[in-house]
């Protein structure tokens, strides 16, 4: 297959690029190792966090409700994503598309209603 042969040569340049890239990084590390001083102490090993001393573990629990609100946001996000192109092309689409979009919004509204009834909108 010709096409494959062509793209293979393209990939060869990518491969060379990868090697050169990795190689140059390694080379720099190697160079700095040659010339830097080697003097580790405790304060130096602490992770840098805006000059504050880190307290506790960086893995801690977020409040679950953020997640639910994020999801609620997605509902309207998706709605807007669909509404924009629909609005732009509305002139060509006609009545049928209007009905479709109403159905779509109704479905989304139903989701909101469900979430509301289930108490997802309350921050307790």
């Amino acid at each position: 297959m010709e096409g494959t042969a062509n793209s293979m040569s393209e990939y060869l340049s990518v491969l060379i690029f990868i090697f050169v890239g990795i190689g140059s990084v390694l080379f720099t590390f190697f160079l700095s190792r040659l010339i830097r001083p080697h003097n580790p102490y405790k304060e130096k090993s602490i992770p840098y966090e805006c000059a504050e001393l880190p307290i506790g573990d960086s893995w801690f629990k977020f409040n679950n409700r953020f997640y639910i609100f994020a999801l609620m946001f997605v509902i309207f996000d998706v709605e807007v994503v669909f509404l924009f192109p629909w609005a732009v092309a509305f002139g060509e689409l006609g009545l049928f598309a209007l009905v479709e979009m109403i159905i779509f919004i109704l479905i989304l509204f139903f989701g909101l209603f469900y979430a509301w009834r289930k108490g997802a909108l309350k921050w307790v």
């Binding site: 096409g3 793209s7 293979m8 060509e92 006609g94 049928f96 479905i107 139903f110 209603f113 469900y114």
Partner: protein, 482 residues
């Protein structure tokens, strides 16, 4: 203005899907107004029966519509029938279990229905984007269902793992579709088929990379090695009826799509056959070998489901009408006896404290002769013993492989079946020949689960003796497809 009449806007084509969606919405609506646990199940039941009837009624209606996005052919309709029947059985078998575990919330039925709808969309389109849409409609409810036992850590773990890996796989799938679109300028399989030689000569690497990534995405859903690692943890952690659903329906949906994409869309890519050959052998071998040492029936069934995916993949490697109809035959048969096996496990787990370890099986045969006999029947079917339909399914698959010259593949498949018999019979051995000091807590039957057990057992044996109807079904399911 767009000409809608020639676009084929025919809601009859998606009547089953609409029925499912409406039912699901009704359930959610009612449950959000009033807190009633029992009757959403009945609504779901009615909805599924209606869906099943609508799907059957569509049979041999070969049409495509909605700008070519929906293809309602016999292949797709066959899967619609399979999916709605599967959901129906899962709904029946899970009812008592969910109550016993205190998780009989109405959302369960709604999620089941929506997921089923997603599968139907997957199986009834030749457009990659719509397939992806169906896949997500199917998957998102599945993630929730996996974590449906909210108080159980294992269930939560299952949900998170499934979700993470699923999202991971979806990303690859989407990228694959993008590659294919980049190479061919379309996501419509029929147009890709028409131009495949031209496309692959110009943009070979892209179409190949796209095919590979699509394979990854659906390989994850059917649990092909090496994309299988989530299966045991998720199957074990999820509520058992959900596991039962996982083990059959998404797998069937994944195969429906893979059969369409790889034996129809990319049928001319010769490399596929070799890849599927290797994947099939890997999948069945790894699944079986890992199942050998399991001490838990649910986990064992999880690995066995991996192995079965490997058997069905034989059809993808072989290709051709006979292999596809054998794959459909096998999927239906596997659904029946695997659901049966899970129905027994569910029934056992309805008793409090039972987690289906092997050590809990002794005494089953002595106290529940019928139940243990049925369990043994399903195990034999899974192992491919005659006269069950499991034997015929394997027979047709491997026969198709041999006829197309894939003799080694068939040989490896048969060897793997032998291997699998070992662990299936361990279940039988544990329930029949081992003794335990602890008394066996009796199970309580409900009409629903008895119905499931009878349907699956009769199907397993009956289709083993009289496969004619199912054979014709699976043969006519490929008419429009190839």
């Amino acid at each position: 203005m767009i000409d809608y009449t020639s676009a084929g806007i025919d809601f009859g084509l998606i009547a089953p899907e609409i029925a499912l969606l409406v039912t699901a919405f009704v359930i959610l609506l009612i449950s959000s107004i009033r807190r009633l646990n029992a009757f959403p199940i009945y609504i779901a039941f009615i909805g599924l029966v209606v869906t099943l009837a609508l799907s059957i009624q569509q049979w041999s209606n070969q049409e495509s519509g909605f700008f070519g996005m929906i293809s309602c052919d016999n292949f797709g309709i066959a899967f619609k029938i399979l999916f709605s029947a599967t959901s129906l059985l899962v709904l029946l078998l899970g009812y008592r279990y969910m109550i016993a575990r205190g998780i009989d919330r109405p959302e369960y039925s709604a999620l089941l229905l929506i997921s089923t709808m997603g599968m139907m969309v997957m199986a009834n389109t030749t457009d990659l984007v719509v397939m992806f849409l169906g896949l997500e409609i199917m998957s998102v409810p599945l993630y929730v269902m996996a974590g449906f036992a909210r108080r159980s850590l294992r269930s939560n773990e299952a949900a998170i793992k499934y979700f993470m890996m699923g999202a991971f796989a979806s990303a690859f799938l989407l990228m694959g579709i993008a590659f294919v679109y980049g190479a061919s300028g379309t996501t419509e399989l029929r147009r890709i088929v028409a131009d495949i030689s031209f496309i692959s000569s110009r943009h070979g690497a892209y179409i190949y990379a796209g095919a590979a990534l699509i394979l990854v995405g659906f390989g994850f859903k059917v649990a092909a090695v090496p994309f299988h690692s989530w299966v045991p943890d998720v199957y074990e952690g999820a509520p058992t009826p959900v596991t039962a659903f996982f083990s059959v329906a998404p797998k069937a949906a994944g195969f429906a799509v893979m059969l369409r994409i790889f034996l129809f869309g990319f049928a001319d890519l010769e490399i596929l056959s070799d890849v599927f050959w290797v994947l099939s052998v890997l999948t069945m071998s790894v699944g079986n070998i890992l199942a050998l040492r399991q001490g838990n029936v649910k986990r064992l069934l999880a690995y066995s489901s991996i192995a079965h995916a490997g058997y069905i993949m034989v059809a993808l490697a072989v290709g051709g009408e006979e292999a596809v109809s054998a794959a459909i035959f096998y999927l239906v048969a596997y659904t029946i006896f695997n659901l049966g096996g899970f129905a027994v496990v569910t029934l056992l787990e309805t008793r409090s404290g039972c987690r289906s370890n092997f050590s809990e099986l002794p005494g089953l045969a002595a106290t529940h002769p019928y139940l243990s006999a049925i369990l043994a029947l399903f195990m034999l079917a899974l192992g491919g013993f005659p006269p069950t339909v499991g034997f015929l399914g394997k027979f047709y698959l491997f026969a198709a492989a041999i006829k197309s010259g894939y003799i080694w593949l068939a040989v490896i498949g048969v060897m793997n079946s032998f291997l699998s018999v070992y662990y299936y019979l361990r279940v039988v051995k544990a329930s029949y020949f081992e003794t335990s000091d602890e008394p066996f807590t009796p199970v309580s039957y409900t009409p629903a689960i008895v119905a499931v057990l009878i349907i699956t057992a009769v199907g397993t044996l009956g289709l083993g003796f009289f496969p004619q109807q199912l054979l014709e079904f699976s043969r006519s399911a490929i008419f429009a497809f190839l």
